[in-house]
Symmetry: C5
């Protein structure tokens, strides 16, 4: 899990661009895919003007920009496509919440791309849908959910080549949501594992692991919950950019997101149930130790007192001289010990 | 309870069919029931085209397909009945959430059929309502809730033969919800049993059982909650396929589902109350053990010290030689022991 | 509290009558009350047809049927008054949830009558309001909330004789809600009693009592919560059967139900607060026992070691022979004991 | 805090007057204040008819009735001002919930007046607003929130003399809400005090106090929450009796009530946080005691065994005769004790 | 964190001005900024009339008043700008809740400015938007969030000089919300720190710190939650004073506030998870101590009894005289000790 970054460009005038993600020196990569049902072009550029020159009017265009830390680039695109300054701000502020916004000539979905190596990374992602262009902005990263869509366009698999740009935008968002499922599946496995571990032998390490999983879950929840509102707003939106034929797909996306949230809530209950079992196992063990101590003490402390009595050095102790005394004391002591043992046996303490 | 399957056909283009349930090699069974108030035909087929040939135009038709893992079959039906690709996807994806969707010429309800042997199984189920045809898709399984409806049609019991296809669809859904009641009844009995067990003697095994029941309950909740929304959407839907005369039945179904959810919430509170009683019984027992130990230690430890004193071998110990010393020491020790016993008696510690 | 009955006539065609309450062999009692502002007739019948013969057209009629297990009778009434089969099902299914339904020529309120001997009994109750007839169905039972209304009609007390049938239906429902207050008052007293008991001396018996009260409260909540929705639906209903002049009364009923629910929520918080105090009292006692044990052990264990030292039988132990040794050892021991006592005194452990 | 009174005039016909508050024999006091911007009259009566005789048509009239247990009086007023029987019932039933109701020619606000000596008292209060008359009913009591309004009218302070009767009704309600602030302020101080007490030294007395504060808070919540709905209904009401010029004042009242509820919720969280700290302090102390006991036992029990060994009286014990044995045993014992002490020191147990 | 001030000017007529914040004797500072795209004037005054004289008609005016304890000043402004008395009351009552209100010729936003030295201070702040004037009232304080806006106006940075007065009001509110981020960032760091501390070594000091952080968080929540409603009301408001061109900015503000609340909820869950880990660490430690005690006692108590037996002084004790007895007893004792040690080893108690 990434560290919570609450940095916010405090004091900056609204709409001014500040990059507040991790420091980067990578070059920016612009990849342009243009297609219709029959043709398909794919090119990578490191320079915007060159890319814009190559745009063909009649095709569906998908411009993917890796590297939102290059603010001049984002500003250039903003100027060329007439994007509102606040939208640009949302694109480069890696802390913006997932949301859907409807401007007149474009709509924007802001999401988080999650991918996992040892920890879960969250990356800022913006998808802008214009009349026949989709522009996606992302931070350069190890995990790219979009490859799957790219491949489908190249190989003309599925419906994407036959549909409009709104379907492309949907396909990209669907790919991101698919990533969430992958993350949650892994997360669910970790929970199952922890559950087994704690049911077997509740250790302090398991507790720390539980604490970490809880934090991770809260991290995931914060990233995924707003996506529901995003998709709902998208479905309810009255923009002309999303055609009615796409409604069934958006509803499907809505459904997937609901399933995601169901799954997170299930995990949440699971974690709290594991905490419960941990705590009660602990209290069980305490009981066990306590009972063991009580039984042993109760059996030996009284008889230790008895042997102490006859270890006293008084001159006048009549029992001492009797030849049967030793035997009698043993009998008494064994009775006391047996009585105690029986008493606790009856109480089912051992 | 089944294992949580979060598998999702990640990366597949939306609307493309992937079967993600258990691997199966069974043949597919297609059963066709056709009826009106006067006539009734029932046939089983293993081949779709044959089945479609035998369809009679003026009757209500119910096609039940067992085995959604045969994707070609589902695709064939989809083509023949003009079903939207995303609907087909929902039919074969055994992980889809329960939902109601209204397409132009058909509506679909997706539910989970639950049945129980030692664990609770959940099976994916889709009911499509066309103008005078109902198509139901299910995984082949041990428990079939539809038998009851089949029997009623055969024997012309109840209202089903006199009504339209929408009533048939309702009857099928009602049969599924009836199954849920059976499951919950059994589940309630397990809870009652656990309650008795834990009130009598709280053991660690009971805790594990409680944990399992909690997981099972979460499983059931996840399956049943969306059904409420499903039925609500169905009632509110403005499709022509469901006639007004059916409204009372749908409201009745709504009512049953609400009763289900009431019952689940009751079980949930029951389980949390059992957890509470388990924990406090445990803490009670700890108290008891602690008190026993404290009483016994307090009675014997001081007197053991006293006998120790007179077990010392000092040359010069004036008390040792006195003939009354032994008697006096006994008196002192008995007073100490009696005092302690009295003290704890007063505190109601035993 | 009654046992939770989740039985449901699984597999029965919807709208077919099944009685699923307790087995009964009692005869059915039909009582007919007819009145207007000036006249009043009251008769009991054991036969429906006879009853129907005696109905006078111009009066307000109240037919009360005790014994819904006689299905033929209910069906007869259903036919005579043209009642929807699903309504009849709701009338005889003692497990139906409280609800209000508006059919064209009648409205129905389904409620639970609660009465208490040592446990709280819940009985199924249906009130149907026709143009100038009210039909009420109930299980034969010990407690009858309707007596109060009957008496008021007979003695022409209150407003009931001057009003229409809708007021009668309201009066019956109000009588049932009044019963709930009686139950909750008793319940509140039990909670107060338990609170005192647990604050004084938290015992395991109190815990079991608390557990039982919690279950009882959940039982009551499940019965009373839906009544709120029932009354709300009734107020919002646009049926012609309920006149506007009755609105104030319905709002008053709504108010009473809200007060009921407030009171239940108050009880709920009370119970959870009692649980808290029980648990913390327990942990207090454990602390007390632990401290007592620690103090006593800490005082005596070190000195018991010291006396043990001089009980050793070594040939060469220089201290043994000194005439002051015994005195010195006592001084040392008393210092140790006093020091320990002082130390724990300072820590306020006793 | 007053005892929870759930008494309800069970079985009484709706709209019939029953007084169910405390038994009282006090005389009833009727005070009539009449004013406009220029004139002002104030009189106390013990007889209604006399009061009504003195009413002057052109002035704003405020009739305050202390003593709602005199049912004849309330009925007389009801007849004179044409008040609905259910309103009269709400006026005299001291258990009615706070609510706002809009009848045609008057509106009524029912509230609770809270005042505190050692416990918090709740008194039933009704404010009826007619065209140019306000009638307020209250139980005779020690604390009167209305004095402040009376004084303002007398001295022509603030706006009240310049405004209509609706402003007067608002001013009265505002005065009642001001009382709530006073109560909550005191309550908040008690919580602060308890917080300090428990953070310093968690004792059982503090626990009982916490339990009492919790009950008191639930009592306050039950009284204050419905006031929010009351004021909301008042703001949304479309009655002609409340002029638009009064809207800002009502919104201000709404605001105050929201602040009240914020404050209660804050107190609630405070109390639960105090409970948490109490419980964990307790568990801390248990840990401390346990560690002390374990350290002392671990240090002395092993060496007590060693000295026991050489206290045995066997004839043949080679070590006994060695002149160095005693010294060696001391060395061994000190090493064991030191080892144990060091071990626990390392574990930071002391 | 400041102390909770629940003071409320009880009994004051509504709309009358009372200052209830901290006592102050500072002079009041009035700063007037006037600008349009081309010109810019900034002046500080200590006298209102002088300030009003210098107002230039065609410019956007921002009057910032530091020191709302000078009631005459506030009243003067109120008269000059025709502000409703209740608005004035809200401006000077430092306890008013954050809210947005729409009067005919102006709108007002009441917020809290938060700043932090060792504790978090909350200061009352009101922003009034007139046609081309913004008036802001604040308590004189150390932290001024407005400096950033002032600087932007002076240096003509960002959009503010090009826009209307509504943008200025937005910019001020945005600056306040930015302050909240700063506070929450610091707060989040404290939580992280506490988390590390408690995971390492759970001490009582950490508990107190946790308790304090919880109180601080409740303080922040109470200040920030109402801001959401404020901004929502502002967005939904139909006032002419806020132009449509400003909508995107307001939605952006809404977004920031939602992010704030997300972050607070995250912190809340974090704190409760830390509490859990503290409690379970504590119970872990108790277990450890208990086990240590039980193991040591179980090993030494039985053998101490054995050595006690042979310390008895009976005349007739056959074993005493045997030359092998001493050796045999050692063997027996070592077996008992080894057996016990093995037993607990098997149970993984050490």
């Amino acid at each position: 899990m990434e560290q919570k970054q609450q940095k916010h460009n405090i004091g900056a005038p609204p709409g001014e661009l500040y990059y507040i993600g991790k420091e980067r020196s990578d070059r920016v990569k612009i990849s342009l895919i243009q297609y219709n049902e029959n043709t398909f072009f794919e090119n990578d550029y490191y320079d915007l003007s060159e890319c814009l020159k190559n745009i063909k009017p009649d095709l569906i265009k998908w411009i993917n920009i890796e590297g939102i830390h290059k603010l001049e680039l984002v500003e250039c695109i903003g100027k060329h496509f007439n994007i509102h300054p606040l939208t640009l701000e949302d694109i480069v502020h890696t802390e913006s919440r997932p949301k859907f916004e409807d401007y007149d000539h474009y709509v924007i979905s802001i999401m988080k791309m999650l991918y996992q190596d040892d920890i879960i990374h969250s990356e800022h992602l913006s998808i802008l849908l214009f009349k026949d262009t989709v522009i996606s902005f992302q931070e350069p990263s190890g995990g790219d959910a979009f490859d799957i869509v790219r491949k489908r366009i190249r190989q003309d698999k599925g419906r994407v080549r036959k549909m409009q740009s709104d379907y492309l935008a949907y396909a990209l968002m669907d790919a991101v949501v698919d990533c969430y499922f992958k993350i949650l599946e892994k997360f669910g496995e970790h929970i199952e594992q922890l559950d087994d571990e704690i049911t077997d032998s509740p250790q302090r390490e398991a507790l720390i692991k539980l604490h970490d999983l809880k934090r991770e879950m809260n991290f995931l929840r914060r990233k995924m919950w707003p996506v529901r509102e995003l998709v709902n707003n998208m479905v309810r939106s009255e923009t002309d950019l999303i055609h009615e034929s796409n409604d069934a797909y958006l509803r499907d996306l809505q459904d997937h997101v609901n399933r995601l949230l169901d799954s997170i809530e299930g995990d949440r209950e699971m974690l709290s149930s594991i905490m419960d079992i941990y705590l009660s196992s602990n209290s069980n063990k305490l009981n066990e130790a306590m009972k063991a101590l009580t039984v042993i003490s109760s059996i030996f402390i009284p008889v230790t007192f008895i042997v102490g009595v006859y270890g006293m050095n008084f001159k006048y102790m009549p029992e001492i001289d009797s030849p049967y005394a030793y035997g009698i004391v043993w009998v008494v002591m064994l009775s006391v010990m047996g009585g105690m043992a029986l008493f606790f046996k009856r109480k089912h303490w051992w």
